[in-house]
Amino acid sequence: MNLNSTRIFHRLFLLIVCCGTTFLYAQNTVTGTLTDQESGEPLIGASILAVGTSTGTITDFDGNYSLAVPEGVTQLRFSYTGYPNLTEDINGRTTIDLAFQAGELLEEVVVVGYGAVKKNDLTGSVSTIDEETFNRGAIVSPTNLIAGKVAGVNITSGSGNPGEGPTVRIRGGTSINASNDPLYVIDGVPLAQDGVTGGRSPLNFLNPDDIASMTVLKDASAAAIYGSRGANGVILITTKKGKSGAPSISFRAEGTVSSIVNRQQNLNAEDFRNVVTFAAPNRLGLLGNSNTNWFDQLTQTGYGTQENLSISGGGETSTYRVSAGYQQLQGVIRGAETERISVNLNFTQKLFSDKLIVGASIKGANTNDVFDPGVINAALDFDPTQSVYDPTNTAYAGFFEYGNSLAPRNPVSATDQITNVGRTYRGLGNLDLEYKFDDLIPGLSYKAVLGFDVNSGQSNRFVPTTFATLATDGFSGEFNIGSALRTSKLFDTYLTYAKEFGTHRASLQVGYSYQDFNFEGPSIQGQNLSTDAFGTANPRVAEDVFAFNNVVENRLISFFGRLNYNIDERYLLTASLRRDGSSRFGPSNRWGLFPSAALAWRVLQEDFAAGLGNTFSDLKLRVGYGVTGNQEIGDYQYLAVYQYSDQEAQYQFGDRYVTTIRPNAYDSSLKWEETSSWNVGLDFGFFNNRLSGILEYYQKTTDDLLFTVNVPAGTNLSDRVLTNIGALDNKGVELTLTGVAVDKEQFDLTLTGNISFQQTEITRLDGSGSADIQTGGIAGGVGNTVQLLRLGETPYSFYLYQQKYGEDGRPLRDGVDFNDDGEINNLDIYEDLNGDGVVNDQDLTINEAPMPNVLLGFTADARYGRFNLGLTLRGNLGNYVYNNAASNGGNLSRIDLGANYVSNVHESAVYTRFDRPQYFSDYYLQNGSFLRLDNLSLSYDFGSIASTTANLSVYATGQNLFILTKYSGNDPEGTGIDNSPFPRARIFTLGARIGL
C-alpha cells in the first residue's frame, strides 16, 4: 500500500473515531540496523515505533532505519513478523542497532470465540485441525476436511449426492428435536443454521482450499461465549490470510471419478418372476418380458474436476490473499451435478505503527446445482420385467408407463424428462477493525466486526406434458420457479484489556453482539401447460398459476464478557458470561444467561515437577463448567396466531365461499434448551512430544428439551405441539493419542488415534404428562413409528416386537397358525411378553438405539523421501440400524397391491417369506458397527522443477474405499432408520499442485 492510500485509511479511521489525532513535533532522530541474531542477515521491512505516538518507520533493504523521534518519547518499539517485539529505552542514544532472536515466542495461537489465545493458555476442550492435517481428495463440503480427526466429533458423509453436506455431531448432540448441528463461525461471522432454496450444504460456498484451520469448541466452557447457539459445539473456520514477503502463487488441479458402492437389494427380473410364480401366480399376466435393472438405469460413474488458484503476499504493514476456484462434480445418480465458482479475498492493513489493524474479507461463490428427481426409491419398486421404453406410447414420450393414476411411474422417464436446477450466489463479507490503545492505556484494545451474509438462490423445475405422473392425475406439465433471499447482518464490538502484574497475567473482555437473519422466498407454480417449448421461461403458457411466499426473520442480541487469568504460568482461569436475547421465544423466556468457568493447571511449571521434565514435555489438567443453549426450533413457535385458509380450502355458507381462520397450536411458555456441562481434561506429552495426547471426561445435562409431542387430545389446538419435555444426560470419555513413531531424515511416521465412549440417557420426561413419546417415523404405511423416548433409556431407542424364529433359524412367517390356537395372529410370530394371550402394543419392547457407544478415528501420516502417505480410518461401535428398506419392501403382498401392476420386493422376502409387512419386528434391527477407510492419500513432491522457484507435487486420493460391517443393508451410517438406498460414492482423485 502506498502512502496515499495509507492516508486515506488514516482519514477513514479519524472519521470513525470522530476525533482528531494530535501530532507531536520531531526533536531527535534515531538511526540503526536490525538484523537476525543467528544469521546476521538484515531484517527488511521491520517496523519501528516511537512509543506513545503514532510516529514510526520501517527498515529498508539493508535493514537500516531512521526515525525522527517526537519530543517526550523515551522508548522505541521494534517489531517484525515472526519475531518477538522488542522495546528499547532511548536514553539519549541516536543509534540503536538490534539483533532479533527468531521464533522463540512464536507460540501456536488458537482462535476461540471473539479472539484468540495461546495454545498453552487454553482451559477448555478445543481442537484445531489445520491445513497440514486436513483430509484430502474431492472435498466439496469443508467439514469433510476434519472427518475422523477429532475425538468426539462424528462426521457422517451425506449420500452420494454431490454437494450434500455431512451430518456433524459434536459429542453426540444435546437435543432430541431441535437441531443438533454445531454453530459454524467463519472468520467471526456466525452462519444461519439452515440452507437455502437451490443449494445444498450451507457451507458449500466455501472452497476448502481457502480454509487455513478449523477449530472445534467441544465443551461448554469454550462454547458458552456463543450462549444460546453453543449447545452443540462450535466450529470456527479461519480462512487463509496472506503472509508478508514476496508473492506466493499456488495452483492446484485435480480430476475425480466417483462410482457407486451400493448394490441393488430388490430382486432382478428372473428372481422376481420366480417369486411371483410362487407367491401370486394369478399376477403373472401383469409381468413384462424384459430384464431391466432400474437401479443401474439411474446410476452412473460421475466425473469431476477442480482448479484452484491463489496469490498471496504482503508488505510490512499489509498482507493480502486472493484466490479463485472452480469445481464441477457429477453425482453417481444420473442427473445430479454441482458446480461452484468461488472467489475469496482477504486483506489486512496495519496502520499507525500497528496500533490499528484493518482486516477485510470477502468470500463469494456461485453454485449451480442440478438435482436428480429423487426417484431412486421408485426404481427399487418398479417391476424389473418391464422395459424402459415403449415407442408406441407417444403420450408419455416413448416411455413404458402403466397409465393408471395409482401405479408407480417409470423412474427413467422422471430422470430424463424432469429438469430441476438451482443457482445460488453467496457473499459473506466482514470488516474487522482492531485498535490498540497501548500508548494511552497499555493493554487496552477495541475491536469491531461488521459482517454480512447474503445468499440469493433461484430454482427452476420443469416437468413436461409428457410426464406420466402428472398426465394421469389430470395435469399436463408443471413448473416451479422459486427464489430465495437470505440475508444476515452482524455487528460485534468488544473491548479487551490485558494487564500483567508480577507473575499474574489477566485479560478482560466485554462486548455486545447483534445479528439478524431474514428470509424471503417467493415462488410460483404453473400447471397445465399449453406447450413444452418454453420450459420455465414463459409462465403465461400455464392455465393455472399459483403464487406463494414465505417470509421469516429472527434476531439475536447479546452482551458478553470473558476473563482470562494466568498465575505464574501455572494456574489458568477462564470465566465467561453471555446474556442472549432471542426473538424466537416469548417475552418471559426471551433472555437467557449463559455462564462458564474453567481452570487449568500446568503441572510441569511447578517446582516439584522439575524432575519430570525429562519424561514429560507437557502436562496440563483442566476442569471446566458451562451453560449453553439451543434455540434452533424455527420462528414464532411460542405465539398464538390465526392462519388464513387459501382459496382452495374455503367453506361454503349459502352461496358464498368463506375464507376460514384457524387458531394454531402453540406453547406460549416455550423456552430454550439449556445444557450445563462439566469437562475434565488432561493434556500430556512425553519425550519431547514424541507421544502426546488428550484425555477428557465430560458430562452434559440438557434441560427443557424441545420436542414435538403428541399432546393429550384436548390440551392444545392440534394433535402435536412443540414443547419443552424433559431432560437428558450425556456423558463420555475421549482419548486422543498422537505418536511420532519414526522421525528420521528420510522417513517419518506419525500415528494419531482417537476413541470416544459416549452414553446418553433421558432423565426426565414431563412436558406433556407423557410417559413415553413415540417417534421414528418409517417408510411404509402412514404414521408408523419404531422408536421411543422413554425415561432411563437412550433417546430414539427402538421399540419393537420380539420376533419368534423357527428351527431353521428363519423368522416365523405370518399367515401360519404356528401355535395351533385356531387363530392366525401376531401371537404366532411374536413373543407375548406380558403373557396376556394377545400380542399388542403392550408387548413392544425397548431395544438398542442408533447412537454409537464408541467412536473411533485413526490417521496415519508417513513420509518417505519425497513420498507422503496418509490415511483416515473411522468407525462406530454399538450403533443399531433398523433396515427399513427390507421391512417395507420385504413382503410378498406387495406383489398383490396394485390393480394393474406388480411391485418389486426386497430380497429379504425370499428368506422371510413374510406376506404382510412386519414393520414392528426386531428382525429388522441390526448392529450397525462399522469401520470405514474414509481416505487414503499418496503424494509425491518433485521439489523445485528445472532449477526454477516453482515447486510441483502430485497426489492421488481414494475416498470411502471400504467398509467392514455386519449390517446387511446398504450402509449402516445414517439416522438409524435405513430407508433410502441413496448410494454413497467411492471417489478417486488425481491432482497436482504447483507453487511459486
Binding site: S405, S583, A649, Q650, Y651, F653, G781
Partner: protein
C-alpha cells in the same frame, strides 16, 4: 482523546443498541387483531364446519390440522366413512396400507392408523369449537370492542359451534365408548382431560342440544352448509335411537318426538331420483337436512367426496363417466350388499347402483379390484350429466342428514315402541320404495314391518352413507352375530369378538394421557 471517543462510541452502541426482539410473523395474524373485526367470527365458525371437509388451511393439502398422520388420509369424513362402512358387508377396499385390511376383517389393534386419524380429527373439532367458545365470551367481546348490534349474531355462532362439538362427541362415544371430556371451561394447555363414561357424555349431549335449540335458526331456515334445528332434531334422534347402546336407556319416545319435529315441519321433501342425491348438483336437493359442501375450486382435499368418487372407480369403468380424472381401484361391495336388492341392474330398485362389467360378485382376494361389484353411488356429474368443475376434486356434497333416513328411523322407532303410528311408518317406507321402484310394486304392508326388514331396508336406502356400523351394533348384528364375506379375515366370513363393537383408544393417546384406560379386550 481518541480513546474517549472510541469508548463513547462503544458504550453508545452498547446502550442504544437495538434490543427489540418482538418479531411477529407476517403471513399469519395476531388473535387480538383478528377478533376485533366482526367478519372474522364467521370465518372462525366456518373453520369448525370445514374441519369435516378439508384437512388443513391449504387446499387440497397443506398447513395440516393434525400432524401425526398423512394429511389427505386423515380427513374427518373419509375416516368416519371408512370406520362405519369397511367393517360391514357394504364394502371392501383393495389397498394394502397397514391397518386397512384389518378394518375389513374386524381385527384392528390400538396401533391402527385410521382409527388414530379418526380419534384426533374428532378431538381437533372439539378443541376448535372450545376455542371458539372461549374467544367469544362477553368479557372477550367487550375487551375487543365488538358492538352490541353484532352480539346476537355471535350468540348464534356459539350455538352452531356447540352443535358441531356435540356432533363430534356423538361420533366419539359411538366409536370409542368412554372418552375424554373437556369443554371451553378447561384452559388451553392445561392438565390432560379426564375420562367420562359413555352415558355421562350422552347425558351431556342431550342437555347441550336442548340448551342450544332456541338459538339455532328455525328448521329449514339455515343457509346451505350450516345447521338449523332440523340438523339438531336429527342429531337428537340419532342419540336417542342408540340410547340403549350408549347409556342403557330406552329413549325411543324421545327419538320419535324429534323425528316428528322434522317430518311435521314439512321443511324437506324427498328428492325425485334417488341417484341425484349423490351427484355434483346435489346442493339443490330438497331432501338434504344438512350437507357438507365440497367444491372443485374452493373446497379441495383428498378426503370426503374426493375419496368417495375416486376410490370406487377402477377396472373397466371410464373415469370420465363419473366426472373424475382417474379411478383409485379401491372400494367394492360384498355380495351381501348386492344381494339385498332384487336385481343388480337397478331396473327394479333404482337404488342398486352397481357396476358389474368385468367385475365378479364373489371376492376371493380383496386386493383384486375386479372382485366384487363396484358401486357408483357418488359421482362428480350433475343430474343433467355434466361433469363437475374439476375432475380431481368433485363438486358433490356429502349428505350428512337427509329426509330418507328420517323416514326409516321413524319406522324403526315405531317398531321399537317409541309410539307414533304403524300406518304412518308403512306410508313413509313406501314413499321411499315408490321412489326406488318408480311404481308401487315394491310397497310393503304392515305385516312386513319388522326390525329385520328395517335393517335390510336401511342396507338398501342408506348404504355407503356411514351408517352401517352404528346400525348393526344397534341391531346386535355387528361382531358376535352376523356373517358376511371377509368378516373375521376369511373369504366366507365368520363372527368376531364383541370387543370390536368399540374401537380401541389409539396407543399414542394412551401414552400421552395417563387418565385414559384402554377399551376392554385391546
Amino acid at each position: 482523546m481518541q480513546y474517549r471517543a472510541l469508548l463513547l462510541l462503544f458504550l453508545g452502541l452498547g446502550f442504544t443498541a437495538c434490543t427489540d426482539l418482538e418479531l411477529l410473523p407476517q403471513d399469519k395474524a395476531d388473535p387480538n387483531a383478528v377478533l376485533s373485526q366482526e367478519e372474522n367470527y364467521e370465518s372462525f365458525l366456518a373453520r369448525i364446519y370445514s374441519g369435516l371437509a378439508v384437512t388443513g388451511q391449504e387446499g387440497p393439502a397443506g398447513a395440516s390440522d393434525i400432524q401425526s398422520l398423512d394429511e389427505g388420509f386423515s380427513n374427518y369424513l373419509r375416516q368416519y366413512w371408512q370406520l362405519q362402512e369397511l367393517p360391514t358387508e357394504s364394502s371392501v377396499i383393495a389397498w394394502g396400507d397397514a391397518g386397512l385390511p384389518e378394518l375389513i376383517y374386524q381385527s384392528w389393534t390400538s396401533d391402527n392408523q385410521f382409527i388414530r386419524a379418526m380419534y384426533y380429527r374428532i378431538f381437533f373439532q372439539v378443541s376448535q369449537a372450545n376455542e371458539f367458545l372461549r374467544e367469544t365470551t362477553t368479557p372477550k367481546l367487550d375487551e375487543r370492542g365488538i358492538r352490541e348490534g353484532f352480539r346476537p349474531t355471535v350468540e348464534g355462532f356459539r350455538a352452531e359451534a356447540r352443535f358441531l362439538r356435540a356432533l363430534s362427541y356423538w361420533h366419539a362415544i359411538d366409536m370409542f365408548g368412554d372418552v375424554i371430556f373437556y369443554t371451553e371451561e378447561d384452559a388451553l394447555g392445561g392438565e390432560p382431560p379426564l375420562v367420562r363414561s359413555r352415558a355421562e357424555v350422552f347425558d351431556f349431549l342431550i342437555a347441550e342440544l336442548q340448551a342450544i335449540e332456541e338459538q339455532l335458526p328455525a328448521i329449514g331456515a339455515a343457509e346451505y352448509g350450516r345447521v338449523d334445528r332440523g340438523a339438531l332434531y336429527m342429531l337428537q334422534a340419532k342419540l336417542f335411537q342408540n340410547a340403549e347402546v350408549y347409556a342403557g336407556q330406552d329413549r325411543h319416545a324421545d327419538a320419535l318426538a324429534a323425528l316428528e319435529q322434522i317430518i311435521g315441519s314439512k321443511a324437506y321433501s324427498l328428492e325425485e331420483n334417488y341417484a341425484d342425491l349423490f351427484k355434483a348438483d346435489n346442493h339443490t336437493s330438497p331432501e338434504l337436512i344438512w350437507a357438507i359442501p365440497f367444491d372443485g375450486r374452493f373446497t379441495q382435499g383428498f378426503g370426503g367426496l374426493t375419496y368417495l368418487t375416486h376410490a370406487p372407480v377402477g377396472g373397466s369403468m371410464d373415469p370420465a363417466d363419473y366426472g373424475i380424472d382417474g379411478g383409485w381401484f379401491g372400494l367394492r361391495a360384498t355380495k351381501d350388499l348386492v344381494n339385498l336388492f332384487p336385481d343388480v341392474t337397478g331396473e327394479v330398485d333404482e337404488r342398486a347402483l352397481f357396476y358389474t362389467d368385468g367385475q365378479t360378485l364373489e371376492i376371493d382376494n380383496i386386493s383384486e379390484f375386479s372382485q366384487g361389484y363396484a358401486v357408483d353411488k357418488y359421482t362428480n356429474v350433475t343430474s343433467d350429466g355434466v361433469a363437475g368443475s374439476d375432475p380431481r376434486f368433485p363438486d358433490t356434497d356429502y349428505p350428512m342428514f337427509r329426509l330418507g333416513d328420517v323416514y326409516l328411523m321413524y319406522a324403526e322407532e315405531v317398531i321399537r315402541g317409541g309410539g307414533g303410528s304403524r300406518d304412518r311408518a308403512v306410508e313413509l317406507i313406501n314413499e321411499l320404495r315408490a321412489r326406488a321402484y318408480n311404481n308401487n310394486v315394491g310397497d310393503i304392508t304392515d305385516g312386513d314391518l319388522s326390525l329385520d326388514f328395517i335393517l335390510a331396508e336401511r342396507g338398501r336406502e342408506v348404504y355407503w352413507e356411514a351408517q352401517r356400523r352404528t346400525d348393526r351394533i344397534r341391531f346386535g348384528q355387528f361382531s358376535t352375530n352376523g356373517v358376511w364375506p371377509w368378516k373375521g379375515g376369511v373369504p366366507e366370513g365368520r363372527t368376531t369378538s364383541k370387543i370390536y363393537n368399540l374401537y380401541p383408544i389409539p396407543s399414542s393417546e394412551l401414552l400421552s394421557n395417563p387418565n385414559l384406560s384402554q377399551n376392554e379386550g385391546y
